[in-house]
Symmetry: C2
Subunit: 337 residues, 2 copies
C-alpha cells in the first residue's frame, strides 16, 4: 500500500460535501416524497419505516439519481419520485437484510427487527417495496420500470447467493464479485442509469451512467467489507466483526484463506463455520488479514473499481455535477484511511 492509493487527486481529503451541496434542494423534494409515501393507515408502517429512514443514512442512491440528472442538465422533476423509489427499494432490502443477518445495530441504532420483531420488518419491507413500484408506475416510464424491476430481481438473487455462500470457505473471488455486483452494485447502477432515461439521452449515456454506478457500488461494498474488519463500532454504526461472526465470505477473508498456511485455513474454516468467533478469534483474524495483505489488497481493488467509475464519466464535459460525482467515488474509497 503506497501513499498514491490514498487519493486519486492531490487535493484535500475527499468528501461527500460537494455532492450533498449539489443535490441539497432536490433532496428536500425527495425526502418529502419519502415521508409522504411511507404513510399508511396502519401506524406501525410509518413508525417502523421512519425509524430506519430517519436514522441518518447517507442516502447515497437517491443522491446519485439527483446528481446524475444534474450531470445531464435534466430540467424536469421526475427524478424526485424515482429517487424516492430507489431509496424505498434500498430501505426494504435493509429491513430484510437485518432479519436475515439477525443484526441488532445499524447506523448506530437498534435495528427495527430488534425493536418490533422480525415479522414486522419483513412485512413493512414488503410494503416499502410495493410503494417503490407504485412510485415508478406513477412516473410512467416502462423503460425505468424495466431497469428498476430488473435491479430488484438481481438484488434478491445476490442476497440468496450470499446466503448460500455463507459459512462456505470454498467461496472464491469470482463468486464474491458476483454477489456484491448483484446485492449492492445493481441498485447503484440503476439509480444512475434512470437519469439517462428521463433526460432522454441515448444508450451510450445510459451505459456510461450504469458503469459509473456499478463500479462505484462495487468499490463501496469492497470498502465496507474491509472496514468491517478494520474499524470500530463507532465508525461503522454497526458492530465491527459482524461479517466475521456471520461467516460472511467477503473478499478480505477469501484472500487471507488463499494466502494462508494450512493452519490458517483450519482457523478460517473453524471461524467461518461458527466455531471460533470470540473477540480473541476476531483479533487473530484481523492480524491474519493484515499479515497476508488481504485488507490492503481489498482497498486496492476498491480503488481500481473506483477508478473505473470515474473513467466511465470521461465522456461528460467538466461541470460541478461531474466534479461532485468524481469526489463521491474518491470519498467512497478513502473512507478507511
Amino acid at each position: 500500500m503506497t501513499a498514491s492509493i490514498h487519493r486519486l487527486s492531490a487535493s484535500a481529503a475527499p468528501s461527500l460535501d460537494p455532492i450533498i451541496a449539489l443535490v441539497a434542494s432536490g433532496m428536500n423534494q425527495v425526502n418529502a416524497v419519502i415521508l409522504d409515501r411511507m404513510q399508511s393507515q396502519i401506524p406501525l408502517i410509518p413508525e417502523l419505516s421512519g425509524h430506519l429512514i430517519a436514522s441518518g443514512g447517507k442516502r447515497m442512491r437517491p443522491m446519485l439519481t439527483l446528481a446524475t440528472s444534474s450531470l445531464l442538465d435534466y430540467p424536469g422533476t421526475r427524478q424526485y419520485k424515482l429517487a424516492a423509489s430507489v431509496e424505498f427499494i434500498h430501505t426494504a432490502t435493509l429491513l430484510h437484510d437485518d432479519v436475515v443477518d439477525h443484526s441488532d445495530m445499524r447506523r448506530g441504532r437498534k435495528t427495527a427487527n430488534i425493536i418490533w420483531g422480525n415479522s414486522a420488518s419483513v412485512l413493512v419491507g414488503d410494503f416499502l417495496f410495493s410503494r417503490a413500484f407504485e412510485l415508478m408506475v406513477e412516473d410512467g416510464s416502462l423503460k425505468v420500470l424495466k431497469i428498476l424491476s430488473n435491479a430488484s430481481a438481481v438484488i434478491s438473487e445476490g442476497e440468496v447467493n450470499q446466503l448460500t455462500a455463507q459459512r462456505q470457505v470454498a467461496t472464491n473471488e469470482d463468486q464474491y464479485l458476483d454477489i456484491i455486483g448483484s446485492k449492492t452494485a445493481a441498485l447503484f447502477a440503476a439509480a444512475c442509469r434512470i437519469s439517462a432515461v428521463i433526460a432522454e439521452r441515448d444508450e451510450t449515456v445510459e451505459l456510461a451512467l450504469d458503469a459509473y454506478g456499478r463500479n462505484l457500488g462495487i468499490a463501496f461494498q469492497l470498502v465496507d467489507d474491509a472496514i468491517d474488519y478494520a474499524s470500530d463500532t463507532a465508525t461503522m454504526g454497526k458492530g465491527v466483526g459482524d461479517d466475521f461472526r456471520d461467516g460472511k465470505m467477503t473478499l478480505p477473508v477469501i484472500l487471507a484463506i488463499a494466502r494462508g498456511s494450512a493452519d490458517d485455513r483450519r482457523f478460517w474454516t473453524d471461524a467461518m463455520e461458527g466455531r471460533r468467533v470470540s473477540d480473541a478469534d476476531l483479533a487473530y483474524a484481523q492480524t491474519l488479514l493484515v499479515q497476508t495483505g488481504a485488507i490492503a489488497d481489498t482497498f486496492e481493488k476498491a480503488r481500481l473499481y473506483g477508478r473505473r467509475a470515474i473513467d466511465a464519466l470521461g465522456m461528460f464535459p467538466p461541470s460541478k455535477a461531474k466534479a461532485a460525482l468524481v469526489e463521491a467515488v474518491e470519498f467512497a474509497i478513502a473512507r478507511a484511511y
Copy 2:
C-alpha cells in the same frame, strides 16, 4: 343455518371442475411461464420456489385471470404472463406469511421456512415478487402495473394490520373486514380486473370484475377462517387451530367474544394472548364457537359475499365462462359443508 344456504343453486355439489376445464390449456401456458421465470443461476431459488409452487395449490388467482379473460372473449395471449405474475405475488406472500406465522405445514407439506430457514424464505419471496414486476413490465401496460402494484401495497398493509391486531381481543368486525379485504381480497380483485384492461373493455367492466374478485376473496377468507376451527389437518393441509394458537382475531372469534359471557371473554382473552392454547382449550373454543353461532354466522356472511360476487357478473351474458365463475364462488362458500 338452513339447508338453503348450503347451495345457491339446487344442482349437484358445486366444484371447481368447470373453471379448471375452462382454463386447462391456458393454465399449461401459465405454468410454463411460472417454471421458466422461477429459474435462476442460484440453485436455492428454483429449489425453494418449486417446493411451494409444485405443492398442489389450487392456483385460484391465475385461474381467475384466465377465466375472466375468457368471460370477455379476450382473443390474445397476454393473460398468461400476467396470471403468472399474480401467482408469483401470491407465492411471495405465502413465503413471507409462513415466516411471520412460524408455520410448519402448508398444503400438507413442510413449509419452506422449516426446510430452508426463515432467511431463505424471506429472500426468495423477494425474488419472486421482483419477478412478478418484471413480468408485468414485459407485458407493458401501465394500467395493469398500477392495478397490481397497488394491490401489492394493499396486501402488505393488510398483513401489517393483521400483525398489529394479533392477540388484541379488542379487534372488531370492521377491522377484521379491513384486514381480509387487504390481505386476501385485493389480489383476487386485481387478478380479475386486469382482464378487463387487456381486453380493452370500459371501466364498468373493470369495476364489475373487481367487485366479483373482491367479494369472492372475502368469502374465500371467511370460509378459511371458519374451517380453521371446524376442520381437521387432513382437510386443511395445514394444522387446524393454527389461528387459535397464533392469536389471530378472525371473525369466528370476534363474534364469539361479542356474544359470550364474562367468563367466555376471560377465556378468549387468555387464549388469544397465548396463555390457553392446549388441545383441550382449542376443543373448548370450538364448543363456544358453535354454541354462540359464530361459525354458522361466519359461513352465512361468506355466503352473502359470495352472492355479491355472483351478482357482480349480472351484466355479462350467459356463457361457459360465466357459469364456471359462478360455480367457483359456490364452491368457495360450500367448502365447509
